[in-house]
Amino acid sequence: MQRGKFLKATLVAAVAAVALLGAQPVSAKTFKWANDGDVNSMDPYARNETFLLSFNLNMYEGLFRRDKNLKLEPALATKVEMASPTLWRWTLRPGVKFHGGEPFSADDVVFSYGRAAGKGSNVAGNFVSVKEVRAVGKDVVEVETKYPDPLLNDKLSQIGIMSKIWAEKNNAVQTADMTKNEENFATRNANGTGPFMLKVREPDVKTILVPNPTWWDKPEHNLTEVIFQRVANDATRVAALLSGEIDMVYTVPPQDVDRIRKTAGRRVLEAPETRIVFLGFNQQLDELPDTNVKGKNPFKDKRVREAFHRAIDVEAIKRTVMRGQSRPSALMIGTGLNGYDQAMDVRPKFDPALSKKLLAEAGYPNGFETRMDCPNDRYVNDEAICQAVVAMLAKIGVKINLVAQTRGKYFAQILRTASDIEKSPQIAFYMLGWSPGATYDVHNVFEALIQTPSAKTKKGLFNAGGYSNAKFDELADKVEQETDKAKRDAMIKEATKIYLDDYAYIPLHQQVVIWAAKDNVDLVQLSDNYFPLRFVKMK
């Protein structure tokens, strides 16, 4: 009797233990992370913004992908070759399947590129040089370009490949059409080949991903589930990390960095971001808006621009306004990108006395009065930086009336309109930030910010101040098409020297990307602010 009872108890315990083991696999690793905003769409071509592209590249993959050092490595393609300066050829990886089980082939690539370049897509900018995309059999894709485009593979690595069969079946062959009142299937669903699959999508609440069991690559991560939540309020997001409800915060407010650092079991990750925040001058109008200098534009005089440059103490901005979280820069391109040149990254010396002298030489011994436009919710501490600049310029006698406003209104006011590129916006002195989006190459900076705004060439759309130098334009055009690396680098150097010598802009700094995580989360922080989940490991 006694023995029977004992046996029974042992059996029950054993069964319970097995049941427990079954219910909770030892390796269950759920990774929870949060950001202040949601991913706006599951459609990889819906928006050209870092967070959306980065998130969706966990589910969709390009032909190439970026490794931990931002270098390209093969993904859905195994190799790429340039058959001629205008013909690129990719050999596709065999045996890859989409999350839904559809086999991956050259047709999907042709379809996806067509969709990404087509109506409603916001990443079409990557296809400007493309003349034709064609499949050669099942495993080879060829792209013919209108002119030599050395950066094509970089640009296209951003374009995740979508299943053609799936898109056609679900009526999602093009990105959502804003003129209709219909939702596109791909906005809330996803079918790529990437390391993670979409399990739950509740916009603005949570998005759950699970690993793709049939992924072609060997997973480096050890996650079994990823829960992304959106926590809008800064203080709450930090509180959720401190209380342990989430494992990682993507956007950390600078004022909370110290608090997180002091909390046991939490750490802060920092890296300079690729974006450069800079100040620009209007060098196009004959008379600035809101100024006491009538009949001429002081910013057309290089000495005035140099005086401004030398009057701004970027180290002081770093110390006080940015709380140490910036990396001062002399160039219009950030570290780690193609075209960054350390030897040239030396700022002209901060020298207010010389500034005053330069202003006097230029004919403004008592300074002058003008306006500065600034966003107040776009870059880290943007308005505070502008206030500091205004105070520094006051010391050399320049009186500045600061106008700071929300980004929607700000960009509408200071940027050129696409339909009338050559017309100068009514601005004098302004702030902008720029990161060479898809290409990680300085040519994007040249073309968008420094080349002369022209309705014919469509260059200089973001050159709000209208800086113009014919020699620079010519060099930048050559850089665009030069496929010989050494020659191209030499031209980049020459062009860089031109805009620096002209004091075309005042580069301020690279912001520092700040993430925070629990100590048991191992992840890779990239300077382009992408967050690939495939590098995340949990202990």
């Binding site: 706006n40 769409s41 990443v123 809008a232 509180a239 959720a240 960009f411 989006g437 968008a448």
Partner: protein
């Protein structure tokens, strides 16, 4: 009664038209959505195309007519931010906001009325004085601060309650509710208290002063003279007569609780329409902002209508007046 309701409905329609005009005016004044949507690499031709497809280049009267025409059918277009239909976005998030608001109102009433009654009956009692002091804090501290303090205490330090979100949500038809799961109840406690605190103190102070007023009136003295029990006098006669202003305030405040849950929703990342509105403002998502304004306008109009009808039920004088007016 019916004439009264019809009159109110006509007024409501006029108010709604005015709200629609203001909502529409935003399309002209809050900035350029293309600059936000397009991202930096979109070529010039496609920017022009995008403007066209959003209808931003049409003349203003044409756009207003189109806006009202669509709004009447409940069509507000696609969100500039997410490309989802705006109507669907709002309807999906409405249950969260309504649950939170109603919960906050229940908290406010369930705590505020008894406190008000007590401090009205015993104004000199130390507990009444304590309540008055605490209520002063409730009125003077801003919502976001209270929310963050509660998070700090109950989520970070004690770890009892979640700091954000709505917990597990269960779908019943088109309605998603968090009130059927433990995590849902846990999640609603802090935001409901935060949102309801101001209303609670308001109601408490209102009930208290009304009670003091009513207790001085002649009919209370007569009721006492008739030998009615304290309970009957206090709750049967006094409290009932304090309720007309309480109903007015509750009704109006329910509207503003729903409309201004924005701050509480942001602090707790509560996935309701307020949070949606805030994110839309940041992204210059004009269709969502416009639809939100119209929806909130409609809500206020409806609540006021219901409150007006409730007066009829509670206050017999209004009934007899309108009966007389009808007889004439």
């Amino acid at each position: 009664m019916i004439a009264f309701i019809i009159r109110r409905l006509v007024q409501a329609a006029l108010v709604m038209l005015a709200v629609a005009f203001i909502a529409f005016a935003m399309f002209n004044f809050v900035g350029d959505p293309v600059a936000i949507m397009a991202g930096q690499d979109l070529p010039a031709e496609q920017r022009i195309e995008l403007r066209k497809s959003l209808g931003l280049d049409d003349p203003t009267p044409v756009r207003f007519a189109r806006f009202v025409g669509n709004a009447v059918q409940g069509k507000f277009g696609l969100s500039y931010r997410t490309a989802e239909p705006v109507g669907k976005m709002i309807v999906e998030r409405l249950p969260a906001t309504l649950e939170l608001s109603v919960m906050a109102m229940i908290v406010a009433l369930a705590v505020g009325i008894p406190m008000g009654v007590f401090s009205g009956l015993y104004p000199q009692h130390w507990l009444s004085r304590a309540m008055m002091t605490v209520s002063l804090i409730g009125i003077s501290l801003p919502t976001f601060l209270i929310g963050i303090l509660l998070i700090l205490i109950f989520a970070v330090m004690l770890g009892w309650l979640p700091s954000f979100g709505r917990g597990d949500v269960i779908r019943i038809g088109g309605w998603s509710t968090g009130l059927l799961s433990v995590s849902g109840w846990k999640a609603i406690i802090l935001p409901a208290i935060t949102l309801g605190l101001f209303q609670m103190t308001l109601i408490m102070r209102l009930v208290r002063s009304e009670m003091l007023e009513v207790l001085r009136t002649d009919y209370i003295k007569f009721a006492r003279a008739r030998g009615l029990s304290n309970r009957a006098v206090h709750f049967g006669h006094a409290l009932k007569n304090t309720l007309v202003p309480v109903i007015t305030i509750t009704g109006l405040q329910l509207g503003s609780i729903i409309a201004f849950a924005i701050i509480t929703e942001t602090v707790f990342s509560w996935p309701g329409v307020g949070l949606l509105f805030l994110q839309s403002v940041q992204a210059v998502d004009i269709p969502v902002m416009a639809a939100y304004l119209v929806a909130i306008g409609l809500l206020f109009v409806l609540i006021n209508l219901i409150v007006d009808i409730l007066y009829f039920v509670v206050d017999p004088r209004l009934r007899s007046q309108s009966a007389k007016a009808g007889a004439k």
